[in-house]
């Protein structure tokens, strides 16, 4: 579904943050992008999404060239859903209104049907449907932003650090929700994460970035059992 080849990208006149990165992600698959701070994880996600235009290389979505397509067109044309790391809800709007924002092109019946399905799926949101989003906890906001992305029925979901700033319990709930989405729908999920262990536990494959390049790519299960990976990202003994 997503095929990025030899991507170079950066901001303004600055240097290339992404240097010749290639990656793929398919339907019914969760692909995680890992790496230390500043390695270009979020930039890669934003480039795939269309917020950042690549300086070189190609991005193909469903076989079509999409490197110059801006995010708002990718949402409509390719069914991309993007969940940002921060500022991910409309704080002055209620939970219900936030969800409806994700359903702009749907018929009333489909919209109501999806809304009720999401309310059943996420009881936390159902209980607070009339509350302002600003009154929700960090984890609830993350669930809300995820649910809002699902309102449009996306075929590709791009998640930028869904566990950022969450407590361990909340983090578990969010990852469980992401895992369920992959299992229930033929969706391609590309996720940037800092919490390597939790992310690898639910994902199928992973790319580890370092200094704007792909340092390692493997199946998630293999990475979880890789001593080098454990040493670098999962809190293992660095001298082992």
């Amino acid at each position: 579904m997503i095929e990025a080849s030899n991507i170079r990208a950066g901001y303004g006149d600055g240097p290339d943050i992404l240097q010749d990165i290639s990656m793929t992600a398919s339907a019914r698959e969760i692909v995680t992008i890992l790496g230390p701070n500043g390695c270009g994880k979020s930039t890669l996600l934003k480039t795939v999404a269309g917020f950042v235009r690549p300086r070189g290389g190609a991005i193909r979505i469903n076989g079509e060239g999409a490197e110059t397509v801006p995010i708002h067109e990718k949402v409509r044309h390719y069914g991309v859903g993007y969940v940002p790391q921060t500022d991910n809800v409309f704080r002055t709007m209620t939970v219900t209104e936030n969800l409806l924002m994700g359903a702009r092109d749907l018929s009333r019946d489909t919209r109501n049907e999806r809304f009720e399905a999401l309310m059943t799926q996420y009881p936390t949101l159902a209980n607070k449907r009339r509350r302002k989003a600003s009154a929700l906890s960090g984890g609830e906001r993350q669930i809300l932003s995820l649910a809002r992305a699902l309102m449009a029925g996306p075929r590709i979901l791009l998640l930028d650090e869904p566990s950022a700033g969450l407590s361990p319990a909340m983090m578990h709930d969010v990852f469980e929700a992401i895992g369920r989405i992959r299992d229930a729908q033929d969706m391609c999920i590309l996720m940037v994460e800092q919490n390597a262990y939790e992310a690898l536990s639910i994902s199928d494959r992973a790319y580890v970035l370092s200094l704007g390049k792909v340092a390692l790519t493997a199946r998630s299960a293999d990475l979880l059992n890789d001593p080098a990976m454990e040493r670098l990202y999962l809190g293992g003994d660095p001298d082992a």
Binding site: A49, F51, D87, T92, R104, D105, N112, F115, A152
Partner: protein, 296 residues
């Protein structure tokens, strides 16, 4: 006194249209335009050029609308390349450039002397009836502008503008084309500002560069901030309130027997102090924006 009230009400209506235009940009869409007066100036100078070239007044209106639409589009294009703060400074700079050009280019609409002798609206009627007819016309146009703004605010397009104001990146991520929304709202509001300017020019029968001073922009800002940002009712109330408050300053001068300089200074204090006081103690204005309401 009656003539005075009609005069103040007439100007309040014209400022009300201008305030509604600013509210579309700043209140609804979060576009911090410090150069609003330039769009108003498109209307005044449209009227001035038509008068100088011997065209009928309505041709001046068309000219002003074309100028305003083009300038509004230009502002919107600048917004594609700049962050909100820099865009605000750029709009202020462009308005100042426009004022300085009209001030210093003698061959362009009279330079600093401006253009006088524009025909007043309803000139054929007796003076008292004409004044009332003008007030009725301006009030009717204010109602039209209000209805347009209300319809925009309640439409799907208005929703996209609010999302652009609240969380632009998130709005893009939900499929909203914010560049297009910005272009449309800038053109619509620029046309409203130009209509206000055109009527103002024919009301005063004079057009000059001092009408484009930046403090005029901040007067309109005070109307929007005091009335209620993003609330069309509040904005109209703010325009009327501020216009009447400023109009009565000269009477205060007479009552307390203070020098004439007091009038100009007090007007600035009312505008600046009003903006500051409301931003500190009541940032949502007298009539706050109503958010929420749509439920499945």
């Amino acid at each position: 006194m009656s003539d005075f009230l009609i005069h103040v009400s007439a100007v309040a209506c014209l400022y009300g249209i201008l305030a509604l235009a600013l509210n579309l940009q700043m209140g609804l869409s979060g576009l911090v335009n410090f150069g609003l007066i330039a769009l108003f100036g498109c209307g005044t100078y449209g009227a001035a050029f038509a008068h100088l070239w011997g065209w009928p007044p309505l041709a001046g209106l068309a000219l002003g609308l074309v100028f305003a639409a083009l300038l509004g589009l230009f502002f919107a294009r600048l917004g594609d390349r700049m962050s909100e703060d820099y865009w605000g400074i750029a709009t202020l700079s462009l308005a100042e450039i426009m004022r300085l050009v009209f001030t210093n280019e003698q061959g362009l609409a009279g330079g600093a002397q401006g253009v006088s002798g524009l025909p007043v609206t309803f000139a054929a009627l007796p003076a008292d009836t004409a004044a009332l007819a003008r007030l009725a016309l301006y009030a009717a146009l204010l109602v039209v502008a209000f209805v347009i703004c209300q319809r925009i605010a309640r439409s799907g397009f208005g929703l996209s503008l609010k999302l652009m104001r609240e969380e632009p990146q998130l709005a893009r991520a939900l499929g909203y084309d914010l560049a297009r929304s910005r272009r449309i709202v800038m053109v619509v509001s620029s046309l409203m500002a130009a209509v206000s300017g055109f009527l103002y020019a024919h009301y005063l029968t004079f057009v000059g560069p001092e009408q484009l001073m930046s403090h005029e922009t901040f007067l309109i800002w005070s109307m929007v901030i005091i009335g209620g940002i993003a609330n069309n009712w509040g904005v109209v109330a703010g325009a009327i309130l501020m216009q009447f408050a400023l109009a009565y300053v000269p009477f205060v001068k007479d009552w307390f027997d203070v020098p004439s300089d007091f009038v100009a200074a007090t007007r600035l204090i009312i505008v600046g102090g009003g903006i500051l006081a409301f931003l500190i103690w009541r940032p949502k204005g007298i009539f706050p924006e109503r958010i929420g309401g749509s439920h499945v």
